[in-house]
Each structure stands twice: as C-alpha cells, then as structure tokens.
Symmetry: C2
Subunit: 284 residues, 2 copies
C-alpha cells in the first residue's frame, strides 16, 4: 500500500469519488447523468447515495467482513428518495476497497477477498435488500427460499444451505454482469481501468467514453433483466453505431431515457474502473 499523507484521499474516499465521477460523465445513453435524469430518479439522488455509501466503504477498508461493509454502504446509500441508485456499483467496488486496503489491488487480490467470504457475508448481503428495491430476475426453480428479494427473512434458509457470498455470486454469474465480475477476478473492471489510465482529458469525459466503449462490447445484464435479451442486443449494437459515427450519442441518450432503458451494469463497471484508476495514478 502506498504511503499517504494525512490530507490525501483515503481508499474509502476514492470509492466515494468514483461513484460521483461515474454519474457525472455525460452523455451516457440511458442512465442518469449530469444532464439527464428521470422525474423520480434524479442526479441529486446519486449525490446523496454517494455521500451515504462512504461509511460502508470505510468498514471494508478497515478489514470488516465484506457483507457487513456492503450492507452498511447500501443502508447509507438508501437515505434519499430515488430508490436504488448505486447498488450494483457498491457491490462491485466493496471487495476492491478491501483488496486495496490490504495493499493488493489486483485481480488476484480481489479474488482472494471474494474467496474468503462466508455464510455471514451472504446473510448481510440479503439484509441489504431490506433497504431498497432492486430489479432482479425470479430465482431458478427450487431456489425460492433464496430469492434475494426476501431480504433478511431469508436468513434461516441461507444458514441451512450454508451458501457463502462467493458461491452465491457464482450461481448468478451467467446472468448478472456484477456476479460475473465477482466470480472471475473482475476482468472487465481491471481492463476498463487500464482504458481510463491510457486516456486523457477531463475525467468525466473519459468515464463517459469508457461507458460507450463497454456498452458496445457486451450486452448489459441489467437491461436484459429489466427488459429482454433483444433489447440488450439492440443497446449494444446502437452503442457500437455511436462509436462508428453512425448515431448521435445525445439523441441515443434521449431515446433510451424515453424508453426507460438503463444500462446499469455497464455504469457499475465504469465506477469500479474509476475506483481502481483513482487508487493508482488517475488525478482529478
């Protein structure tokens, strides 16, 4: 871990700043950004969400269990009227904060944090769903007792089955982009951080450019969950058309907002990449 003087940003503060920079990148077709918002999900809700998440990041940075840190961050995030603002981003960033605090912010370091998760972490993870409504798919057949939407009431079922948080994420890795990152050493997030580090200019512009590049590469699993596979494929292809100069990003942003298409998983990965880059050498 790098030495820090008392006035430089802490690891937890870099995580908070990553959330703020992510939402401030514009244009970011379909998501809330500095210039686009929904009546019931506004830019200011994301500001309050980032303010509230800090205490949870601080728990992760001091070595508290990941599940507990995550639950605390979500509880703090939820102190605003917009609902779910940064659930996925916080889920992605929390283990990275723990890895950074151990002085090993690398794919291996993050994998080690994930591998050490316990059944208690799973219980805490479910409790986080008590604070906020999150769009998720129905659980597979026979997994009803472990439906995350049951929140803290799933506790006895979790303990009975003895599922660690790493195992839980593994089960969803095929259908959820954040769970896939958790299960495979955060490959897209670290790769995206490299992309940020290689770019130049205002950080929020670099973040929105990264968002478009990622969106054009893989389908967004949040769009798949919220809409369907066809919509998710369309989103990917139209992001590619923007990169190819065939579509106007501002018009696409307006259309996606109109159609309520929110590529949230892609935004979460940008937030994770911003955190990694801030911990390394990205200056704001």
């Amino acid at each position: 871990m790098e030495a820090r003087d008392e006035t430089s940003r802490s690891t937890a503060q870099n995580a908070q700043l990553a959330l703020l920079l992510e939402v401030s990148g514009t244009p970011k077709p379909g998501n809330v950004d500095r210039e686009r918002e929904y009546d019931d999900l506004r830019f200011e809700h994301f500001l309050a969400g980032a303010v509230g998440a800090l205490d949870g990041f601080e728990l992760a940075a001091t070595g508290e269990p990941i599940g507990q840190a995550f639950e605390r961050a979500i509880a703090g995030m939820s102190n605003q009227q917009g609902g779910n603002t940064q659930f996925g981003a916080i889920l992605l960033i929390t283990p990275l904060v723990a890895a950074a605090a151990r002085g090993n912010l690398s794919r291996e370091g993050a994998e080690a944090v994930v591998a050490e998760t316990t059944v208690e972490d799973t219980v805490s993870f479910y409790r986080a769903f008590d604070y906020v409504d999150v769009a998720v798919d129905d659980p597979p057949e026979g997994m009803g007792p472990l439906d995350v939407r049951r929140g803290s009431t799933a506790e006895s079922a979790i303990r009975e089955r003895g599922v660690t948080l790493a195992e839980l994420m593994q089960e969803s890795a095929d259908v959820d982009g954040i769970a896939a990152e958790w299960s495979n050493g955060f490959p897209r997030t670290f790769e995206a951080a490299h992309g940020l580090e290689r770019s130049s200019g205002p950080v929020t512009n670099r973040a929105s450019a990264l968002f478009l590049a990622l969106l054009a590469t893989e389908v967004d699993t949040f769009v798949e969950t919220q809409h369907d596979d066809e919509t998710a494929l369309e989103v990917r292809d139209r992001a590619k058309a923007v990169l190819d100069g065939e579509e106007n990003p501002y018009e696409l942003a307006a259309e996606f907002v109109e159609r309520d298409i929110n590529p949230g998983t892609t935004a979460d990965i940008v937030a994770g990449a911003l955190f990694i880059a801030l911990e390394r050498e990205l200056s704001v």
Copy 2:
C-alpha cells in the same frame, strides 16, 4: 439534537452533501455548475473538493477547534487540480457544523461558536492558505504582516497581535460577504435556508433559484474583489433582470462564464443554506 439511527446522514455528511448539491444547481450564472465549467476549473474538481472536505467537517462535528477543522477541510478540498473550489463555502459551513453538533443550529448557536474562537483558530485559518490560492484584496495599510496570503508564515505576527478568528472576521466584515456572515450571526444564510424550506421540487433546482434570488439582492463581494464595484453592481442588476423575465438565465450564464465573472460568495451562502435545511427537514 435529533436522535439519528446509524444509517442516517451525520452532520458532517450533510455538510458534504450541501457542497455537492450547491455545485449541481443549474443555471447559476457565472459559476461552475452541472452544465457549465471552465477548462481549468471543472465540475469534477468540485466533486473531489467535497469528498476531501469531509474529514474537516467531522472534526468540527466532534468539537475540535474551528480553525483546526477548517484547515483540515481545506487541505482535503485541495486534493484536486482545480485550485480553490469551495474555500468560502467551507469557511461558512464549518461553524454551522459545530453549532449543529452542539444541538443549537440557530443564529445564536452559530454566534456562540464564533465568539469562542481563539488566536489558535486564527493561526490555523492562515495555515489553510498554504494549500490553495484564494483571491483576496490587499490588506489595509499597516496590516501587511497579517496578509492572509502569507499563510503559516504569518504565525508570529498573529500571536504577537493576539487576534482571534472572530476579531479577524470582524475586520473584513465590510468587504467580505462570508466575514460579514461570521460577524453578524449568519443572517443571510439562515434567511436563505428558510427560503429553501419554503420551496418545492428537485433540490438542485431550488438551489439555483435561491442563487439567482440572492444574487439579485446584494452585491457579491467575491466579484467585487475579483473585478470591481461596477461589475458587482451589474451582476446584481442583471440577476434582477432574470427574475423580472427580462433576461435569459442561460444566456447570462454563458456570458458571465465568458467574462470570468464568478459570484462565489453568493454560491457559498447557498451552500450554507443547503446545510442548514438538510439538518432540519429538507429531503433529497
């Protein structure tokens, strides 16, 4: 002081959120906002400034000396490349945080905090100028040794003269809007908080409307310092023209940015008012 559960925002976090909401209000003629920025002073610098200020607000909330809390907040704020982002707002908010933490966020409560400041607070206040360049006027004749731009090197002169921070502010109250607030029980800030509480709608819209209303009422002392009295009067009158429907606020915002006119003191008072309102009942 109201009881808070462990997941609600702390007083220090409300101060941080006030900084974030202030800069996000738009249009706010002349200042950086969500949609307007300067090449060398960008929205993202204000985000990083707010992240960095939190530790200082926390010191104020735990009863540490105001000067020390302020110096810490400015040190944290300065961890970005934009320079002075929120110096005045932090100076205004820090004693309010202390008053709130004592359970008396009122004009009397804030006056009591100011009245208790010591020579040590003045020394810390000067040290804060080591971290960032702040636009200030030349000191009056004979006051050269107490030029704030001397920063920590003024320490012996401060101790020799035995000036408390309250006394120092009193000396500048005629020419500096923040010093005037400090010296008179923060009248404009508390009045502005009432204005926010009476309004409705998205908080950032209420903040930008408040900014315009304040700008139309009194000359901005930062504009006086940065430019001259004539410019400050013009700014006031043109803000009034916006309120009267005679000028377009977006065009005025573009013009002021072009002319490098930044009504910073007015923005600081909006930030202070947001903090007070968040501590009371303003929900985001």
